[in-house]
Amino acid sequence: MSDEAHERWQGTTTALGGRSDYKRVWDRQAAEYDVASLAVGGFIGEDTLERRAEATIETLRAIVGIRPNDVILEIGCGIARVGKPLSHLCLHWVGADISGEMLKHARRRLEGCGNTTLVELATVGLQELPSDSFDLVYCTIVFMHLFEWDRYRYVQEAFRVLTPGGRAYFDNFPLDSDHGWQIFTQGAQYTLGRRPAHLSMSSSREELRTYLSRAGFERIRIDDLPNGLISVSGHKAAAA
């Protein structure tokens, strides 16, 4: 195929909808706090938020561990649902999100938590953060809203910003759990033209394992979580 024909072919392809415009998609959903809370976790009340956050923290503790001297990064922190209670258990917690509107709510919720930092990401990736800086990077209830290429980009970036010996954790819903199948069938009910940009999309265990393996992680582990999600975790090799 000639270059000219290739160019014409590229010109005829259609953009994959607005899903990739994550900043716009999530800024719109975060304009009001209760809607933002629903969008990131499906619940509104502060009590429910805290209860669910405790469950996430227990999962992190069991799979990758949480240490008092840890400098922790959450990718896609939203309104700091997990970050607020987690900041009491570590040295410093950093929340990164592509939505500046979400971070406004997070900032308000984190008032008084001195060991926290919020970073608005300009685009997919962690270019705002330095390499070899974090002991733990985690990303929960985020991958379902991303395209596969962007999921992998965040895994790569997590590897970069982790210190040697650092740990990483990611999760998503699989198709083969009841919870995952329920999400899938709910998504299937949208008509073609009405599918929202944030529509949840599943991951397979092999997909998640491949991301971490390709990014350079070691001691990769897949876990089936009690809430119907699957998680993948791994370590960045310690310095020799």
């Binding site: 001297n69 840890d70 400098v71 040295l91 410093h92 950093v94 060991n115 930092t117 970073v119 300009a122 705002e128 953060l129 330095p130 800086s133 974090f134 002991d135 210190t163």
Partner: protein
Amino acid sequence: MSQPDADLQKRAAALEAELSALAKREASYRAKMVQEFADRGERNTYMHSLREEIAALVKRGQEASSDIEVLTRKLEAELARSAALSAELDAVKRSLSWRVTAPLRRFASDIQATPRPAAARLIEHSPADGAPFTYYLHTSPFRIYRGSTFTLRGWAWPEDGRSVTAVRANIDGRLFPGRHGIDEAEVLARYGPQPANSSPGFEITFETPEGRHVLGIEAQLSASEWRTVMRTTIWCEPDGRA
């Protein structure tokens, strides 16, 4: 446990404590580094937005210079035309026919001096009287107006402490109501609270028909009288008809 073993255990515990303290210091240093890295990024973004603002201001400056050049050429042409007309008038007044017909003009002038009914009002709405205002226009009115409409934005309050209850533009007597009560947090932060005008911003869109006009920005005070905030001559050359 023998004494050497106990000593060893003590030393190991001390070393472990030292290691832990070191790990904490190292982690604190990393947390600080992350914070500074993120701050620097934010500053860079701010610098970038400032540079963009400067570029926009430079562009506006260039456009204003271009407008001044066009207006200067118009003024020069008008001055030349005025000089030519003056010379022509002088020539007419020096002519024999002008002097011969002088008694006739005097007679006509006497007849015209007789009182006549007042001429119909040429303009629909006279400009309102002026009053001292503190004001600023975000969009400068000093330009050549090239569109068919224009929107002026600014803020104003009267210095006598009354409240502004409406705003409008007066173009040669034609009125264009505007929107007022727009928040101007930065202005209040600078000038202090304005109890009668807590949201002193306004926005007025008006038509800009071709030609030279008198533009007045007028404010209604305490829901009664109208006062002129500022008045200036404007020159409109809608695109394609310049």
